[in-house]
Subunit: 675 residues, 2 copies
């Protein structure tokens, strides 16, 4: 990839049993996607303004200023080169620095697109597209996160002036966390309780200007600032997550986002005939983005970990031969390879979600909602929307959880050294998992969205019908017929096992809930169990999408074979990890579980010679990875050594503070202690 220096991992790359270029296409989705990513990644990597390696050494202010510089430069390049939307968003990905632009493009624009009327879109979107205004998404408050319905900020309609008065009545109503808010945004979509004529109509979105377009000072009645330095050198400290308070700030009535609900000139609150489910659109979009971001973060971490594990040698040297590569240790493989497989699994499920989002959006737009009764809409096109929300909710949960696992694994295990030394990729994972998603709460959505639980509950509540009995009987009493370890390689076997586990856990849980005096009580008492059902459910989705992917027509020598292996690694490592679920629901025996584990070892052996090539297929530049341990050429040690000397602490041989605080101590100015 880069440079012309010696490739210390060449011996690994030669061993690959598949066509890496073809795998790049399978990973990226198309030849076109590979090309665009490749061009944008090189563009960024070769531009000195986008240098990343000094980030750890900058104070908050310099770090932040440097981010502003990068954002402006990126925008200039996007314009100069007349990049397409696809190219521009790729370029931003490779600039790889959280900043106000992410919220502008990722939340502010989609909110207006999703919740604004046609006129509102016509007015605001061109300004936003040209960045003549910069926007953020101001929902979360100091006292209110997951519970959006509990927000306290008010937007009270004043019919006299045809305005809304935006106000922060309490300390806990201060907006808190929105990215881009602290120092940069000129505008925000602010979520607030709509009040007309003394009546509370719940949460709605409003476009509010925050700062003067002339001198950037906050407008009257607005107090705004940054919430302070966050954990992790740099990363989210390049972002101005902000705090915001309103003191009776007035905005015109037409700045309420009115696609779904409106307030008339007279102050009447009206619901439009656009089905509320359409609002899910933005949510689906945002969550799908999160899944895709998380899979990116996971693959970066895995890429670093695999390469460094191939470079790093420890123990096992005999008569002067080099030591064993740590990637050859089975313990290392059992930590790394499931995560490598997960990176691929998430990539494919993310692509599927993107497709689903487009598909659902198109189908919805084809309908004329004014003529569709809401109930009808629910069954037809909306059914798949709901499914997608569910899927996304579940997947977001799993993906974020798994990102944490890779973070954790990197932590203790293979890149022990990485973590305290260089952690860009990992910090990103962290940010990912924390941002926007309240995982547990999201997982609970599954039940709410699909009505899955009430469906199951209905099965076990007193009036059991014969059909339902039959259904339960069929799906709950069979067991897996499998005698040899190789049988675990069959997609049908894997799929059945995951299906059986998911449905039986759910059935058990529903049975237990039915024992409580009320459904609510059971639901709340057993919520931890429900969570486990949710996890089982979404792992099933991921496994089945991976299996579908492998069935597709995939080009390139060995590519399909390797994807099949990764798919099996992903599934069987989950069987091992959740063995208690699989066995206790009675579908598989302990013996069969042991066979899965045995098969897993054989699969690891098949992954091993391909491991480095499999992470090469992500096609990440060294600039994007931002990790010495993960360098493409494996030339780790000289670079680590070289970098160390650049630390400010090495500016002088004798450190600042020596004369005041160390020398007196050594020269024993103190009396001898009693020790």
């Amino acid at each position: 990839m880069e440079g012309a220096s010696v490739d210390h991992l060449a011996h690994e790359r030669i061993r690959a049993e598949f066509d890496v270029e073809a795998m790049k296409i399978a990973w990226a989705g198309s030849k076109h996607a590979v090309d665009v990513a490749d061009r944008m990644a090189r563009l960024v990597a070769s531009d000195p303004v986008f240098k990343k390696d000094n980030r750890m050494m900058l104070g908050r202010k310099e770090l932040f200023k440097n981010t502003l510089r990068k954002a402006a430069h990126a925008w200039r390049r996007i314009n100069e080169l007349r990049l397409t939307e696809e190219e521009a968003s790729m370029l931003r990905i490779f600039v790889d620095e959280p900043g106000y632009v992410d919220l502008h493009w990722g939340m502010f624009v989609p909110a207006i697109k999703g919740q604004g009327t046609d006129e509102q879109q016509k007015k605001w979107l061109p300004l936003a597209y040209k960045m003549q205004i910069i926007g953020c998404y101001a929902q979360t408050e100091l006292g209110h996160g997951s519970n959006v319905q509990g927000l306290e900020t008010t937007a009270t309609f004043d019919p006299k002036t045809d305005e809304f008065i935006i106000h922060s009545p309490t300390l806990t109503s201060s907006k808190w966390w929105p990215g881009g808010l602290g120092k940069i945004s000129t505008h925000a979509v602010v979520y607030a309780r709509l009040i007309t004529d003394g009546k509370d109509h719940g949460i709605n979105g409003f476009i509010v200007q925050l700062r003067s377009l002339d001198d950037h000072s906050p407008l009257p009645g607005i107090v705004v600032g940054d919430i302070g330095t966050k954990f992790g050198n740099g990363a989210y400290n390049t972002m101005d997550n902000g705090v915001l308070r309103f003191d009776h700030v007035r905005i015109p009535r037409n700045q309420m986002l009115m696609r779904v609900s409106q307030v008339t000139r007279e102050g009447k609150f009206v619901q439009s005939d656009v089905p509320r489910q359409l609002l899910y659109g933005t949510m689906v979009y945002v969550r799908q983005t999160i899944v895709s971001d998380a899979s990116k973060a996971l693959s970066r971490a895995v890429c670093i970990a695999v390469r460094y594990s191939a470079v790093r040698r420890q123990f096992g040297s005999q008569d002067g031969c080099p030591e064993t590569q740590v990637i050859d240790y089975k313990t290392q493989q059992s930590r790394l390879f499931p995560l490598l497989a997960s990176a691929y699994a998430f990539r494919f499920v993310g692509e599927w979600l993107k497709w689903l989002y487009r598909d659902v959006t198109e189908r919805l737009q084809a309908n004329d909602f004014s003529t569709l009764p809401e109930a009808h809409a629910c069954t037809a096109g909306l059914k798949s929307l709901t499914t997608s929300v569910t899927a996304i909710a579940s997947l977001t949960y799993t993906v974020c959880n798994l990102s944490i696992t890779v973070f954790q694994s990197c932590l203790i295990h293979y890149v022990e050294t990485v973590l305290l030394k260089e952690a860009w990729a990992l910090t990103e994972v962290l940010g990912m998992a924390l941002k926007n998603v309240e995982n547990y709460v999201v997982a609970m959505d599954i039940f709410v969205a699909v009505g899955f639980l009430s469906y199951l509950l209905s099965m076990f509540l007193p009036a059991l019908t014969k059909e339902i009995m039959l259904f339960c009987f069929c799906s709950c009493n069979s067991s897996l017929s499998l005698c040899a370890a190789e049988d675990w390689l069959k997609p049908s076997v894997i799929l059945e096992a995951f299906e059986a586990r998911a449905i039986r856990l759910a059935v058990n849980c529903a049975k237990n809930i039915s024992k409580f005096p009320s459904q609510e009580e059971g639901f709340s008492e057993l919520s931890a169990d429900l969570l486990e059902v949710a996890i089982a459910h979404c792992q099933l989705i991921i496994v089945s999408k991976f299996i579908d992917k492998v069935k597709e027509d995939i080009q390139g020598h060995g590519v399909k074979e390797l994807l099949q292996i990764l798919c099996n690694v992903y599934a069987l490592s989950l069987v091992h990890k959740h063995l208690g679920d699989f066995i206790s629901t009675g579908y598989i025996t302990p013996k069969q579980g042991a066979l899965a584990n045995e098969q897993l070892r054989f699969l690891y052996a098949q992954v091993r010679p391909n491991a480095v090539a499999l992470v090469d297929a992500f096609n990440y530049t060294d600039h994007y990875l931002g990790s010495i341990l993960g360098r493409y050429d494996g030339n780790v040690y000289p670079k680590l050594y070289e970098e160390a000397w650049k630390d400010p602490l090495n500016d002088t041989v004798v450190p600042d503070g020596y004369h005041e605080y160390v020398r007196p101590l050594l020269k024993q100015k103190f009396t001898v202690s009693r020790m």
Copy 2:
């Protein structure tokens, strides 16, 4: 605890069903221990020099200088107040900032104590005790971590001058990571390959002066510096982890640590009759410290998480009532309470290890080793030493792993907000897990140290004796007789289940190993499974030590009862987590597993009213916790808000960089993009 302001958690504290003051004693070990900790914690908290809250805002150099200042001030106070060793080390704990002193007292001094001869101790320890020299522990090299036997630095004896020549022959032989080395230490214990007369005698320790005691400049032939900024704002950046290279540096012969091996004036290499196992002493000491540090870090994180979960409210508000405290959600409890129980479990097992270390040391010192053949020594007093090493190895592994779990949990779950905003306690956990311990490698020690595996192997290799058959039969075919959820509360039931799981997993593993052509191959192929056996083994130790603790005579209303509940939470949450192990070894049935999970819910309900009081019993000051979310008085929101404004980014309303990088963009100096 501090201040006189309103206690927002008073309603929680009133609910406690036990005597918190008595629990403090149970936690700390004695009334005396509580008093010392209390005095030292207040001393630190009330001293402005020890302020911690500006750490996030300092650049590396200022941060480091500030640490030097704190260390000097602590030393001055220790001397002025004529503190005892116990008090001094408590004070250092509460200063709570990693620094060169930790390595000086924690590694340099113990290494000399453990590996130095009496004369060497007499010469060097007084200098170290008075801090007339400052030392570090320089073992790890750029290319060599866990594999100490692979170190490349050489110490070649020169009989002409009666000196050793310390040399770094390669880049990878550079010392890399030692704390305190980068900028401060005047001396180091350096580990290097001893070479006499062309012969390599393996790794030995040497006391080497690194810097001038006059002007602190590195001595001739020595290149030394800091390895650079690490991940996490502050925390380990207060430490000067260092890099060090030697170019033929000469030291007198008597600076080799010669308790175990000597080099004579003539250059002869001699092994002393002190059994090598004695060397384990330092290792045991250091590992025991790590267990205790890790339990401290875990309890801090849990304290913050529990308090914030009691303050934080989300959802469930009805008719204007406040929302539900998030600690009331069962999902939250199922994440928090096992960790709370683990904090107690680790505290007690740590105390037990400390006792074991003292006991073993005393017993060893009572023997006259010059008359003891090594083989003999192995069986007698040393047997318990080996056990302790094993125990410590295993426990270190588990504790560190669990600290990561709490870190992880904090991450995604209850203190979502904490992490990116304030992470002192958590960073410490991180450092803990990464430092000194290579977890996986350590876990492998179990088998090596106890010979446990070869014991098991011998059972299944061809020559099976009748006795062994019988043993296996007895211990492997029984199963748990348990019908009601309450039966899971019996210590005997818990202990049996953990024992059966540990032994059966080991037996299965040994059986599988015996199927391989050679034992080595089996060992290496199944190392991931062996690791799981190791984990089962050390969880058994922790559970059994917790059970022992509860059996002791414990004072105070309700204290014993609460500890019993926590012990059961610890054990049953592990049964649930590792259900696959427990069921597949055939000792418990899926039904019994479900009962354990059911019982766990009842236990959570019993913990709930006591949760805040249980973390209060750790007796941590707000200064030590260093967390706004974890404040004793629960007054979170006003303080978060207040702190935000202190960030450097809020120094000006319009940020640095606005005029260069934001205004031109808003004023549309660029041509319109194609988007």
